[in-house]
Symmetry: C2
Subunit: 354 residues, 2 copies
């Protein structure tokens, strides 16, 4: 069976402002010293499993040119441009319908475009096991991440009985508070929900038909128009009519035959500027400096420089991000508040900076 | 007797990098919200005492154009351009010789160009008293600053017997350690040495003739050439031959008839970036922001912005200074280390940034 991959790249992540903007969200940025962008790394690590021509990128229409520029090996017709944002369920339905149109039977890996993986061999092996498990019946397989600590910013997967390489999923749970997260860890029965899925096109389509028939019907009409002159008109009409729905709520929480495979491959969702020191090599004072930086006695400081010299003198636990038109200086305790800067800029009508 | 003022503006202060550069040192910067530069404020506060045409600016030849641009009211011939830096004694000797050539008898106020005064009326009254005291004999009068706390970064003046509005000076002492500074304060007999002097031209010239005859002789030759075609050649020849000497070591520590007047007029030597929050109005969170700034929960932070937006998120006790080609982010505990950045830049041969 043909293995295909769908990379979800429509996000507008605000947590990497001022480097990320509406016009260039996180997945199109490089946050590592190798200079590769998140989406480039996502594609590259899939190549042992999937041919370039079987990788589909679902993104916002505004980012089509960015995808083409950063991923010249991906066929243009594989860039599936959403006319608007409708969360993951319509995104996956669109991709499944297109792939279903192209191949009679296909395996479909669904992956975020803006995560990092430390151990790519283990990652590939884990996906291979997931593919094998997804070949059975209409199994839906999700990759869970073995938790390293009681994170309150992720959803969790509660798993039950072992089944081959996988475990049966009991339920998906939303972001817990800290005591609950600690209980989850202590129980040994919870994994982080990473948003990575593996299933046959036919499996996800039959579940959609049953659990969200409105989105299924629209997606089928989009798939039927794929490659035809009327495709764009159909896409705009059907897609804008979709309600916003996540695949977790819309499918995973209600479907049968859900399995999870625990993954331990150095997964990082790169959720805020704090991630930069995790995913890069730091110096003896636990600093990470990129660009033209002079430090005098600074410690545990992350600097992503732009064109100018940045001198950091005696600062600790600070993140500095420089761009041509905006500079961020942020305490490591306050990275979640970067969104408030964007909110203020929007209020002030300064959309050029957002 | 004609009252003249000599403003010493040759300094290359490095502590306000990156705003201050070799090409534009501190006295030519504005560090206050009113937009006036330090030297402009120095001149303005003297006008109740001295006419514009009797104000002399001693500066480095490289800064003549800056002085002309910032102080259009000062006659061009009053800008005394040192061909090189030789500390305060040659600077004052040069000015005294020129003024002595211009006026038969003149009072001379000698003032730094890069300090701030909070209470200008009290300042002017203090200088008036100093002028009266300097009219007697060959008295040398220095303005002492009533200490607010045991500062270890200033020299001190130990005074003795009261004499009219002044006190006799027992001795000048160098920067003390903290226990000594505390003793000075407790004794009630010490003032900060502010580097402001008042004397007749004849008084300082006779003291120079006695205590530093080499510099005196050179200065007399410069004074004789003032206004003549050979002036520049004589100035370069004589001035470059001067040894470096401060007026404190060269004159004040050895002369007789030294008096001090205690001043309490909100003096600030604006010695580092820490001064900016002292000399400006801060907000409720004790921040001082200049330029295009968005703050989310920042406290006790000083931002001197440039052309770009600066977002400060959750930072505390930090100083941020932005310019077109260099950015400083500095802990308030480390402002003295800004010099180390300049040292590194010099080592790297990056003189464009110094």
């Amino acid at each position: 069976m043909k293995t295909t991959a769908v990379i979800m790249a429509g996000g507008r992540g605000e947590r990497f402002w001022p480097k990320s903007r509406n016009s260039r969200p996180k997945q199109f940025l490089s946050l590592t010293a190798d200079g590769k962008t998140m989406i480039q790394k996502t594609v590259k690590r899939l190549l042992p499993l999937v041919n370039m021509e079987d990788i589909f990128i679902v993104t916002n229409a505004a980012y089509t040119d960015l995808v083409l520029a950063q991923l010249p090996g991906i066929p243009k017709e594989n860039i599936l441009a959403e006319p608007c944002a409708r969360n993951t369920a319509p995104c996956i339905a669109f991709a499944a319908a297109v792939i279903g149109r192209k191949y009679d039977a296909a395996m479909m890996l669904v992956l975020p475009s803006d995560h990092l993986i430390g151990y790519e061999d283990i990652y590939v092996n884990t996906l291979r096991k997931a593919i094998r498990a997804a070949e059975e019946g209409s199994n839906l397989v999700t990759i869970g991440i073995t938790p390293a600590y009681p994170e309150t910013g992720y959803g969790y997967i509660n798993f039950g009985r072992e089944a081959g390489d996988t475990y049966e999923v009991e339920r998906f749970v939303e972001k817990p508070d800290l005591p609950t997260a600690k209980e989850y860890l202590a129980s040994g029965k919870y994994l982080w929900n990473s948003g990575m899925f593996v299933w046959k096109v036919s499996s996800i389509m039959s579940n959609m038909q049953k659990l969200m028939p409105d989105i299924y019907d629209g997606a089928v009409r989009i798939g039927e128009a794929y490659g035809k002159p009327e495709f764009n008109a159909v896409l705009v009409k059907e897609f804008t009519a979709f309600r916003s729905e996540s695949v977790d709520f819309g499918i995973m929480e209600h479907a049968d035959n859900i399995y999870t495979i625990p993954g331990s491959f150095g997964w990082d969702d790169v959720g805020s500027w704090l991630a930069v020191e995790r995913i890069n090599e730091t110096d003896d004072d636990r600093n990470y400096f990129e660009g033209d930086v002079i430090s005098v006695g600074s410690e545990r400081t992350t600097i992503c420089g732009g064109k100018r010299l940045i001198a950091a003198v005696g600062v600790e636990d600070i993140i500095i991000v420089d761009t041509d038109d905006a500079l961020l200086v942020c305490s490591k305790n306050s990275t979640q508040d970067v969104k408030k800067v964007i909110a203020q800029l929007r209020e002030q009508g300064r959309n050029d900076l957002v």
